[in-house]
Symmetry: D2
Subunit: 259 residues, 4 copies
Amino acid sequence: MQPKTFDYEEVALIWDEEKKKTFLFTLKKGKELGTHKGKIFHDDIVGKVEGDRIYSHTGAVFRVFRPLIYDKIMKIQRKTQIVYPKDAAWFVLSLDIKPGDKVIEMGTGSGAFTILLAQLVGDSGKVYTFDRRKEFLENAVSNIKKFGFEARVEYHLLNAGDKFPVSGVDSVFLDLPEPWLAIPPSNMALLPGRPLACIVPTAEQLSKTVETLGENNFAVMDVIEILERKILVRKKQGVRPFEKMVGFTGYLVSARKLI
Amino acid sequence: MQPKTFDYEEVALIWDEEKKKTFLFTLKKGKELGTHKGKIFHDDIVGKVEGDRIYSHTGAVFRVFRPLIYDKIMKIQRKTQIVYPKDAAWFVLSLDIKPGDKVIEMGTGSGAFTILLAQLVGDSGKVYTFDRRKEFLENAVSNIKKFGFEARVEYHLLNAGDKFPVSGVDSVFLDLPEPWLAIPPSNMALLPGRPLACIVPTAEQLSKTVETLGENNFAVMDVIEILERKILVRKKQGVRPFEKMVGFTGYLVSARKLI
Amino acid sequence: MQPKTFDYEEVALIWDEEKKKTFLFTLKKGKELGTHKGKIFHDDIVGKVEGDRIYSHTGAVFRVFRPLIYDKIMKIQRKTQIVYPKDAAWFVLSLDIKPGDKVIEMGTGSGAFTILLAQLVGDSGKVYTFDRRKEFLENAVSNIKKFGFEARVEYHLLNAGDKFPVSGVDSVFLDLPEPWLAIPPSNMALLPGRPLACIVPTAEQLSKTVETLGENNFAVMDVIEILERKILVRKKQGVRPFEKMVGFTGYLVSARKLI
Amino acid sequence: MQPKTFDYEEVALIWDEEKKKTFLFTLKKGKELGTHKGKIFHDDIVGKVEGDRIYSHTGAVFRVFRPLIYDKIMKIQRKTQIVYPKDAAWFVLSLDIKPGDKVIEMGTGSGAFTILLAQLVGDSGKVYTFDRRKEFLENAVSNIKKFGFEARVEYHLLNAGDKFPVSGVDSVFLDLPEPWLAIPPSNMALLPGRPLACIVPTAEQLSKTVETLGENNFAVMDVIEILERKILVRKKQGVRPFEKMVGFTGYLVSARKLI
């Protein structure tokens, strides 16, 4: 089986192993990428296979890859705080995502989690994403298109608390300042027994969210937070955690609709 | 849209909200489930919708659900340590899983992660899972069948280090005592640029794994550990983390194949 | 310099290395200690030096020590939740403890933190400890006496919110269900600029405590929590964190009195 | 009881509540302190009581305090990594520190932990601190003198592995790149049954340290790491952990000398 080589209009990821730095961009004829170690010519990448070496005009060595989902999430154009991979991953399980699912996301933000959902529901699924801020929605759609997921995503302007223009969905994800507002419409849109999940930033908001879920026919299943700790592995000096870490991103809640 | 009611031969999940306890079983005509709060008759569940109330013979109230992926993972018949949801979720992202993927898993164990992979690759994908212990493989297959994923999974007895009987796969996951043994055959089976991930239990094994990856044409992308902290949310007493937590399950490694 | 040998009426700590288990008791003529590995005769310990081997009647080997402060804290007779060493240690710094200090503790509990304070303020210092529950105070005093600290500790029954019968103290520590009640009397008892610290169990109580401190002439300096992670170090299997850990004990607050 | 007012030659701590920023300096006649909010005149502080307001020449308000032990540790002149308060606090307990103790510290560094030990052993105790680097020792001594602890501290140049010029000590603390070198001399200097503690940066060094302790007559009691998580408490927005945290400082080991 021949691996697919890079072509123009594809998204490529250049990786500098030494600096652990990546660059994500769409391949264009005649264009070049400026890096801290010299220029990389797009034309040099076309025809290459993933994992191959690419040299800058100064002779510095890089590797070229297609972006994995982690890169897609981390390298989107951000206009908002994104759902971090550590949390997004947990939501994939708590929302019981699978190919063909119809999923509501309220609070599109920059579209990071939308892209993950779109990747996982596949061509037979659909992500319905809503945001009340036009400029955020437009930015998110631009991100979604970059990775070719636009056919799997429907997006609309919507205020928190408004009825969703879709029902019978398999799961609902909420990422907005006042998630409790969106709980009654989520209840209407969701199939019985199916999961709702959300991320909330403070203990007081968590408390209000959990209470509102209970009042709206939901059984709260899990409330957690995820800490990701990066580990440094060096042959000579040995193994230890990194000196810095992300201390907090949000409380994660999962619930199921009752009848 | 009418929600699908429960039928015989389906897997059901009974949930006791008060005790936060669940029971998973296959519905059989005339059978009963013994709980700490009395007997539940399978026949009472058939015809019900997910999220509905079920009463034991003593009048205790339960809820009935279909198992979500989290329940499937946690409620399998275990003959080994399983990959915990917190870690399994991270691997879904680091392995860049999507519908249609062909994935190798070395170290089937009890099949918990196999089931998650099978759910996510869908009908068009395939999970090739290998273990060197026949009794573990048989138990895992029984778990996989319970959730109807057998058509998506191929399984074989295989020793760590042996060549995989499949190639051109999209990703490789390793969960075995000596993951370094399986790295050269993983390199042969994997498409260029694609991800390999593994879980290792100690710092020394982590060091050896990372070194072996470097020697076998892999770029190590991330080494982390995931801590999941459960949060207690109670209206009267307030919000705080639980007193107990899982302190460690393993170091998680992700890498990409170079050419 | 000759190390001091054990004598009757001293407190001894027997340690089983294999099981990582300790036994704390006062040496009495003719008495014996029952362990899971046979009887240990008190008379065998008298005359021994710390760190020496002691054999049970079945020939099992133990080590004998004097209790360190950690053992004193963990082995007291408990009638309440204690301040754990990980937190108690942080309070020693936030309360700026030193020999000669006069310290108020409101919420004696079982006396674990009282004992640490008494050890550190020395013969020239004084710990004023208060509790509203007579049976807890009596138990705590019995623990304090066991380690010979009674001359350094004054104790009184007192309700939260009542004026302390002492003033001009160097620091104040609060460990009670409603710490805010004790903040105004703490302000009256404390020297200007000096620290107050407290432990609170939930986010809502934390919020109320911090607000009350601000309203009562205190500058809040730090709000933290301490996580202690035990590490398993084994020559053959390698290094990794333990599978279980304490997930939460409390939020720790430190403040300084303004004028 | 009249609180002591500030005088020249004393160390003062200026605190900007809004920015949570502190400045530590010795009060000198006629001098001024430059801050981001204007000049503060030392003469304005003399005669003031701790906790009082101080105004800069632009009218910005600050508070003046004497440094607590936490400020002393964090505000020393650093030439090395210091032992952080979260870890230093744990060592106070594991070393069973009390007034009058004689303590060895190998690896003076910048003197942060030396200062804490000196504060706690009091006038009747002694800290014997050793470093192999003259310039570090000189810097540490200058830090120790700033807080008036010089009479409680003896310092010497010494290489790791050399015999300590003191014996019969109550505890030993090691903070150096190869702690195993200092274990045999620590064994000679320490009283039987008494504690040794050390901080080590990697899993491999931890493994070697624990093994060397076992070979040199020490019983390893605890191996842990301490994570400190800062909590943000805001009246309007609510309670949540900070977004950033220190991810790792070192593995902490405690042991006791056997005979």
